[in-house]
């Protein structure tokens, strides 16, 4: 029995959106963020809906749906509605190339089907992600412009300036990895991180191989996802709510959803590129069956992913916001030179690997 690749991809899309992303947004995103911020701030957090407030996201979503949808009188109605759609679509699309695991061997009628745990194994995966993250700025800029609100406009402008500045260091830090693994395919980048590095016990993850690149990539990802300390486009005390000041109901909900998804995409990219993706170190010593290994690897991916998300949230609730000029200074004067340095160093180490240095 052979499944056509289109149907297989469709099934994967449905599984990823409805069984991974939406529950992640609801619980890892909304619920955990609210609970975590409450713990940080000596509050209780949502605890009324369901046991321990666990049904809170289910109460929030219908609320957003039933809110009145207000479009400002002088707004450009088409673009105003288009903005959140662009943001959301792009936020979802990033996950198309995310490798959640290697392959899942399923035995049907005695035949082993190796199902790749990635919706589409695009051979330019890295470029695809970069292209999408550049497109995401359109949603924000267009909605900021079309709202006919000066605060929204300022938020939109800030967003585009920020994206352009940080996209550079984002791309430049990835170059180091591409040089090392000789591929743009995300799954192959993960596979290139197998094995061990230095002393034979440190996993060969890019975070250990490329520490400078990791730092610049991480910071740039914060800026890309508009999270504190880089949330200038929606700086609450200055710009009220920035680009989504004039959005209500589910349009606002779509922005919120896409913001969480962008954060997840960032966490997924950091995991994939730097933390060894689905690689679970030392698992080969356990002699597990391929099926279990595959499941453990998926678990490893989501553990790393969740830890990064929690880190994103802790930073958000403990840092002040940068000023516009400080943001630009860091982007252009610190991040880009650092990522260029990273490329140079990577080149040097590829030409003359570290174990040949002392011979």
């Amino acid at each position: 029995m052979e499944i056509s690749p289109v149907i297989e991809a469709l099934i994967k899309i449905i599984v990823v959106i409805f069984f991974i992303l939406l529950p992640c947004v609801a619980y890892l995103g909304v619920q955990l963020e609210r609970k975590l911020s409450a713990w940080i701030q000596n509050r209780v957090g949502p605890n009324r809906v369901g046991p321990y407030g666990l049904l809170q996201p289910l109460a929030d979503i219908p609320k957003l749906f039933f809110k009145e949808d207000i479009v400002p009188a002088a707004a450009n109605k088409f673009v105003h509605s288009l903005g959140p759609l662009i943001s959301l679509t792009i936020a979802f699309s990033t996950f198309a190339v995310m490798p959640f695991g290697d392959t899942l061997p399923i035995v049907v009628n005695g035949v082993v089907h190796n199902i790749s745990l990635q919706i589409a194994n695009v051979n330019i995966g890295v470029l695809y992600v970069l292209a999408l993250s550049s497109l995401a700025v359109y949603g924000i800029t267009l909605s900021g412009w079309s709202s006919n609100n000066k605060y929204s406009l300022l938020g939109g402008i800030r967003s585009s300036a920020q994206m352009i500045s940080y996209e550079l260091s984002l791309g430049l830090s990835i170059i180091g990895i591409v040089m090392l693994s000789n591929t743009l395919q995300l799954n192959d980048i993960v596979k290139a991180q197998s094995g061990y590095y230095l002393f034979g016990f440190l996993p060969n993850w890019n975070i250990f191989v490329q520490p400078i690149g990791f730092i610049t990539f991480f910071v740039a990802m914060f800026a890309e996802t508009n999270r504190l300390p880089f949330d200038l486009p929606e700086a609450e005390p200055e710009l009220v709510a920035g680009y989504h000041t004039e959005y209500t109901g589910m349009k606002f909900g779509m922005f919120m959803l896409s913001e969480f998804l962008a954060m997840f995409a960032a966490a997924g990219m950091i995991t994939t590129l730097y933390l060894g993706g689905w690689q679970a170190p030392y698992i080969e010593y356990l002699n597990l069956s391929p099926f279990v290994v595959s499941l453990v690897q998926v678990g490893a991916f989501f553990t790393k992913f969740a830890l990064i998300v929690v880190f994103f949230m802790i930073v958000r609730w403990s840092m002040p916001r940068f000023r516009y000029d400080q943001l630009m200074n860091i982007g252009w004067k610190v991040m880009i030179p650092l990522s260029l340095l990273n490329i140079a160093l990577t080149g040097l180490f590829i030409l003359k690997p570290i174990h040949t240095w002392f011979n």
Partner: protein
């Protein structure tokens, strides 16, 4: 080149293709910030002319919370105005109560007993701590650190519990009376204050370590909203904002009132005159206030909390119901007021925001003929446009947060 092309070229060369702009650099935008805005600390309205993100001009517009308290005072007896003082600087009502009755007492020529003065000092300093805590928290929130605000608010809530125990109200306390206090500070309040200030320094350090060690926070404030010493004095700045430009002026030291000359404390002074200095002054003042309160609690004598001036000080209710004399005094004081001598008086205290003064003009009636409130927030806000011009939008909120205005007081 054929003839057709030459013709086109000639036509293009002769054509006037220049585009004229009246002012090529004129890309300014007027932004209306407030009165409904998350960072304007109430209902302050700022009209800002923006060149990109840079502030070209800023005009503050006040009066959205004007309730006419100065006029209201002319129709209130001296006692009736005390609850209105709660609503001036609503972050430190106890301080306003104290400042107002001190002015009235100066007019009447009476003085509250020692114990009452100690209690007034304690509540004033507690009000200062509570107000500065909010100021620091709000400043942190304005530059984006949301968590510190809730941490300082946690401490304020504990203080409000003490205020509730002491006065019966958390927010609008109206605790002082002409010639004394509403009632004495009971031992359980004293122990609550002691217990609070035993745990407070540690918790406060927690909050400020979060800010002082954060490079983003320091860089957001350092060098922002700078004002020179001369200009600050010329603009009538007072309180922590004035001490941040290096002027060692604190009414508690320069014109001691209550029992401040019996207490050992320092006046924190910083010299930079920027947002960071204003923040540091507040931070250190909180520590000094804790010192003052501890000393007051130690030194506080026993005794009455009402001056023995039956014609001027409201008698106790239990005496009104049992004694003839007190009933008559109560009737006269309630119906005709305290009737101070003809004259005028100005008394200022060092409130949490600066010099809070009450100028009372009396014609010998039961109510003031004129009452002028010198509110520090109003004076401090005068320099807003000077401080923010040339900065960025993000600096406006930092400057406002560091000036720490309260609109209830500025608009009166």
């Amino acid at each position: 080149m054929d003839i057709r092309q030459q013709k086109i070229l000639a036509a293009l060369e002769n054509k006037d293709t220049s585009v004229y702009f009246k002012d090529a650099l004129d890309n300014e935008m007027v932004l209306n910030m407030g009165p409904q805005h998350p960072a304007t600390h109430g209902v302050l309205r700022l009209l800002i002319k923006l060149d990109g993100e840079t502030v070209a001009a800023c005009v503050p517009e006040l009066g959205y919370l004007h309730r006419g308290y100065e006029k209201l005072a002319e129709n209130c007896s001296y006692h009736e105005f005390i609850p209105h003082t709660d609503r001036l600087d609503y972050l430190s009502p106890l301080m306003n109560n104290t400042a107002y009755v001190l002015a009235v007492e100066k007019l009447l020529g009476i003085e509250a007993p020692k114990r009452a003065q100690y209690i007034r000092t304690i509540i004033s300093e507690m009000a200062r701590v509570s107000s500065h805590l909010l100021g620091i928290g709000a400043l942190a929130m304005d530059v984006g650190a949301l968590t510190v605000f809730t941490w300082t608010f946690r401490e304020r809530e504990k203080m409000y519990d003490i205020f509730e125990l002491l006065t019966g109200a958390r927010f609008t306390t109206s605790f002082t009376r002409v010639g004394g206090l509403a009632h004495d500070m009971t031992p359980d309040v004293i122990s609550a204050v002691k217990a609070f200030f035993d745990q407070f320094p540690e918790k406060f350090n927690e909050c400020i370590t979060m800010l002082n060690t954060n490079r983003i926070f320091v860089e957001r404030l350092d060098g922002v909203g700078r004002i020179s010493k001369e200009k600050a004095i010329a603009m009538g700045m007072s309180g922590p904002n004035l001490r941040a430009v290096g002027v060692d002026c604190d009414l508690r030291k320069t014109q001691p009132y209550l029992i401040y000359n019996e207490i050992d404390f320092d006046i924190p002074v910083f010299n930079d005159g920027d947002c960071l200095s204003r923040y540091y002054v507040r931070l250190n003042e909180v520590k000094e206030s804790v010192k003052i309160i501890r000393q007051c609690l130690e030194k506080m004598p026993a005794g009455p909390v009402h001056a023995n001036e039956p014609k001027k000080v409201l008698p106790r209710k239990e005496q009104v119901y049992t004694k003839m004399e007190e009933l008559i005094h109560d009737f006269m004081l309630i119906n005709f007021g305290v009737n101070p001598p003809v004259g005028e008086v100005y008394h200022a205290v060092e409130a949490s925001k600066g010099e809070l003064g009450f100028y009372i003009q009396s014609r010998g009636e039961g109510h003031p003929w004129r009452l002028k409130i010198r509110s520090p927030s109003f004076m401090n806000l005068q320099s807003t446009s000077m401080l923010v011009e040339g900065g960025m939008i993000s600096d406006i909120v930092a400057v406002l947060g560091s000036l720490d205005p309260v609109m209830g007081e500025a608009d009166k």
